[in-house]
């Protein structure tokens, strides 16, 4: 009995020690929101976003320095995951966020129609190089670019097509390509929408015959690195990030028939439906993101700026204007209205295994 008692005590101590270690690894809780001073941002703001965690971390630091009195928190999720979450929250009548920086204009159109967005006419709108909502419900804030990429360590550029068309048709690539999932990634949905407009639904059939693997960015990049894939369709930022941070050799191919530019949007949730009812702060943060300083943070995160005549470029990228001139147009209204149809066609042709 005595031995057991001692054992119990030892176990409890061990448990306590472990818990303490793990808990003390955590950060200190930020101080409660400061009182609102005129024109200054204070209080809490939660932003749902599909930007990568690495970028979020950098951006949070910038925002904390810029708005020291506010407690701005990003919540990451893939577009699909967040859309599911938002749909559930809309059902419940209240969202868990105050702002969103995710998906693409077609989703903004849907949210606007659902009546959950806050209207704000930003003075920054005249400098925008991309389409925005004329009533002020959403603005583009960062430009994603769907491109192709390859690994010069494993394959030579001569063995690889330089077009989106070739990606889906070149027999040398059969079984060696990968792309993101239009069901879970907004940018992938935009891409298959633009590609359909340009090449018709035949493009999906071709992708299916090409045995494209549908998977997310990190998995695809690793497959490119190991040589399991010859070419992947991926967002430019993922490749640039790897090039800068890891001195990776992976290289972007800007397709001759155009890459797909996706001006991802920033939106504010209507006060009464938002998590913290802090719309004034959200407006100021919107203006900041659309300012040169805010855009510098975006470009630092390997995405392109939405501003006209803006010089800064993501690491190793070619000029935005040049990409824009050659890009494949996306019809956002159609992408919104025909989303289910496209997803279904994509599933039928690509996702379902066909009998031999």
């Amino acid at each position: 009995m005595i031995r057991c008692g001692k054992t119990v005590r030892r176990l409890v101590l061990l448990g306590l020690a472990l818990t303490m270690t793990l808990v003390s690894c955590g950060e200190k809780k930020p101080a409660a929101a400061a009182k609102d001073a005129a024109g200054e941002v204070s209080g809490k703001l939660v932003i749902y976003t599909s930007m990568y965690e690495d970028i979020i971390e950098k951006m949070t630091q910038t925002l904390n320095t810029r708005f020291p009195k506010a407690e701005i928190k990003f919540f990451y999720g893939g577009t699909g995951t967040l859309q599911a979450k938002i749909a559930a929250e809309m059902n419940a009548g209240k969202l868990g966020c105050d702002m969103m920086m995710l998906a693409e204009p077609s989703y903004s159109l849907e949210l606007k129609e659902a009546g959950i967005l806050h209207k704000y006419v930003s003075p920054a709108r005249d400098r925008l190089a991309f389409e925005y909502d004329s009533e002020g419900y959403w603005y583009p804030v960062r430009v994603l670019n769907m491109v192709l990429a390859y690994n010069p360590d494993k394959y030579s550029l001569g063995d690889i097509p330089h077009t989106m068309q070739g990606f889906a048709h070149d027999p040398r690539l059969k079984g060696f390509i990968s792309m993101p999932n239009p069901l879970t990634a907004g940018s992938a949905l935009a891409a298959i929408s633009a590609l359909r407009d340009k090449y018709g639904y035949e493009y999906y059939t071709a992708l299916g015959n090409q045995k494209v693997m549908v998977e997310s960015g990190s998995v695809a990049l690793t497959k490119l690195e190991t040589g399991e894939c010859k070419v992947i369709m991926i967002l430019e930022e993922s490749v640039l990030k790897k090039r800068e941070e890891e001195k990776s050799k992976l290289t972007v191919i800007y397709p001759d028939d155009g890459s797909v530019l996706i001006p991802s949007t920033i939106m504010t949730v209507k006060g009464e439906k938002s998590a913290n009812n802090n719309t004034r702060a959200a407006e100021i943060v919107t203006d900041w993101f659309l300012s040169e300083e805010g855009q510098a943070a975006i470009v630092g995160g390997w995405m392109h700026s939405v501003l006209k005549n803006y010089d800064k470029l993501p690491y190793d990228a070619i000029p935005t204007a040049k990409i824009l001139a050659a890009s494949m147009p996306v019809n956002w209204e159609k992408t919104f209205r025909q989303r289910e149809e496209m997803r279904k066609k994509f599933e039928d042709n690509v996702t379902i295994k066909k009998a031999k």
């Binding site: 057991c4 008692g5 054992t7 119990v8 030892r10 176990l11 061990l14 818990t19 793990l22 808990v23 690894c25 955590g26 950060e27 939660v46 990568y52 965690e53 690495d54 971390e57 928190k73 919540f75 990451y76 893939g78 699909g80 995951t81 859309q83 599911a84 979450k85 938002i86 749909a87 559930a88 059902n91 419940a92 868990g96 966020c97 360590d153 494993k154 990968s178 069901l183 693997m213 549908v214 998977e215 997310s216 960015g217 990190s218 998995v219 690793t222 497959k223 490119l224 690195e225 190991t226 040589g227 399991e228 894939c229 890891e246 990776s248 997803r343 599933e347 996702t351 379902i352 295994k353």
Partner: protein, 565 residues
């Protein structure tokens, strides 16, 4: 089966045990029975009236059919192979003089402590049909003209599912073997039967109920796995019901949710059929294998087979456990996964990242809390249930036992969906977006592993000590606290970890239940794995594994080998 403590009282009196059982039944009714029934109802009443439209829509779509077939096929074979692996291993490790059996035991249990989706990633790199390392090695060794294996196939999926879910069977069967009365085997040996014949004619039939229980566990775990099929299956266009359900939920519309529910009903039905068969058809053939006194099973001498058999087990361990785990650990320090590991290609920044990045630390804390609470509350219930089952004849004591078995037999995704739909305020309880809903989900899913451990430990303890305490005037609670618990403490610790570990890195349920403030480690790991950085995910997984090894070692040291996971 057991010597019971006291004969039931004839006259009516209030028994505190009823209160305890009642509370457990109430808990299970509110958080399990009601949500499950609601889910069933909703699939046929989706538009406010009775309709089978959703069923028609979902089950006539070819992709879903493929998913159903894939799920049944992969889970079935994982179950068969899992048992074929687990039974001999459990016997060799538990009942023979295999070399290094203690080490092997810890090693096989270790796989239970690793998140399956991380293992999937390792296998993907080892056996992919283009540049898989193991594939290349085998091709080179045997001068083949093509890669021997393709992980993106139904076979590949079965392989990975088997390697990660057989530990469930191994743990279950080992436990039963340890408590088995060896006198029958001894009798067989004395009568001249060879060890293998004894194994086939005595051990195997006696173990049948545990083998069936273990098979069920593997089947259901494989059928509801999300991580492995989404990583291994999807690139080869092999979908399962679990991946389809998550896809439907991610569509984000009400129709998507209805379709997910309808598909979930399939998983629920099939799991319950298997459960029914195993409990009421096979399970009825209970052998009296446990005697009142504590016994130590005899050890079979492998004789001249000892070295070769040990070598085979070692090779098995190398392939199934060590190679994938080492591959995960190496990934965590590799910069460019396309190049060999050389001094210039090594970095520890991913390790630094997991200890400094706030969302990871925050999620780790959430998981620690929710898994810790789930395991502790689960063990409390298990202890009470074990006592009530083994030491009393209270009416209705089988009801919670049955409900707990049904809960664990239900696929995780179904549990999560049912909880979301019923616990978001529509019926007066709103715990969606809180850690509470996670804790409840974990308890429903993993409670059984803990309970079985305690029940089996309790069955080995003779009630005489408890009776002595009772005669000396101690009340039920006191007897329980001062006599029973200290006696079975090693099993309580083991059971606690069996609930804690899978909850700690749980993925399928957390993916549906997480919110801004309740992200969990499993979800974080999976997003890093698939979206941000595989190296960071590998570092995180290796860290979890190292922590488990450390805790196991500490437990062993502090308790002189009495406690281990």
């Amino acid at each position: 089966m057991q010597t019971r403590a006291a004969p039931p009282e004839k006259r009516f009196y209030f028994d505190i045990k009823w209160l305890v059982i009642g509370a457990i039944i109430l808990f299970l009714t509110v958080f399990q029975v009601f949500p499950f029934l609601y889910l069933l109802l909703r699939s046929v009443f989706s538009e406010g009236r009775f309709s089978l439209d959703a069923f028609k829509r979902v089950y006539t779509y070819p992709l879903n059919w493929q998913a159903l077939v894939n799920t049944v096929v992969t889970s079935f074979f994982s179950m068969v192979f899992g048992i074929l692996i687990a039974f001999p291993l459990a016997w060799l490790v538990g009942r023979t003089n295999l070399i290094g059996k203690k080490f092997f035991r810890s090693l096989f249990v270790m796989t239970y402590m690793v998140p399956p989706y991380v293992g999937a990633m390792a296998w993907l790199r080892l056996l992919n049909p283009r540049v898989g390392n193991l594939n290349l090695l085998l091709q080179h060794l045997f001068r083949l003209d093509r890669m021997p294996f393709n992980i993106y196939s139904v076979g590949g999926l079965i392989w990975v599912l088997t390697t990660f879910y057989y530990p469930y069977a191994f743990i279950t069967i080992s436990r039963a073997m340890e408590k088995m009365d060896p006198s029958l085997e001894e009798a067989s040996r004395i009568s001249g039967a060879a060890p293998l014949k004894t194994l086939a004619t005595i051990t195997l039939p006696m173990m049948a109920p545990s083998i069936v229980a273990a098979a069920l566990l593997v089947f259901v775990s494989a059928a509801s796995a999300y991580g492995i099929p989404s990583i291994i299956g999807a690139p080869g266009q092999i979908h399962t019901v679990a991946t389809r359900i998550i896809d439907f939920v991610y569509i984000g519309s009400q129709e998507g949710l209805t379709d997910a529910t309808t598909l979930a009903v399939f998983l629920m039905v099939i799991a319950n059929v298997v459960l029914y068969v195993s409990t009421f058809v096979v399970g009825r053939k209970q052998y009296i294998t446990v005697s009142g006194k504590s016994t130590r099973p005899n050890i079979v001498d492998l004789g001249r087979w000892r070295v070769p058999v040990s070598a085979v087990v070692l090779i098995f361990a190398l392939v199934i456990v060590i190679i994938p785990l080492v591959s995960v650990a190496l990934t965590s320090i590799t910069i460019n996964l396309g190049n060999p590991l050389s001094p210039g290609n090594i970095t520890f920044k991913y390790w630094e990242r997991i200890f400094t990045r706030k969302p990871i630390i925050f999620s780790a804390r959430n998981s620690l809390v929710s898994a810790g609470v789930a395991a502790t509350a689960g063990m409390l219930i298990s202890l009470v249930m074990a006592y009530v089952l083994m030491r009393t004849t209270v009416k209705g004591r089988r009801i919670p036992d049955f409900l707990i078995t049904v809960g664990s037999g239900t696929p995780s995704i179904v549990i999560a969906l049912a909880l979301i739909m019923t616990m978001s305020g529509r019926f007066g309880i709103n715990i969606y977006n809180t850690l509470t809903i996670m804790i409840i989900a974990y308890m429903i899913k993993y409670q059984l592993m803990g309970m079985r451990t305690v029940v089996s430990a309790m069955s080995q303890i003779h009630p005489s000590l408890e009776e002595a305490s009772q005669i000396s005037g101690a009340r039920w609670v006191r007897v329980f606290r001062d006599v029973t618990i200290p006696l079975i403490l090693p099993s309580v610790v083991a059971g606690w970890f069996l609930i804690f570990m899978p909850s700690f890195y749980e993925l399928a349920m957390s993916t549906l239940l997480y919110s801004t403030d309740t992200k969990t480690l499993g979800y974080e790991l999976f997003t890093y794995q698939t979206y941000h950085s595989q190296q960071t995910a590998s570092a995180l997984a290796t860290a979890i594994l190292l922590l488990v090894i450390l805790v196991n070692w500490l437990l062993n040291r502090l308790t002189d080998g009495e406690f281990s996971i």
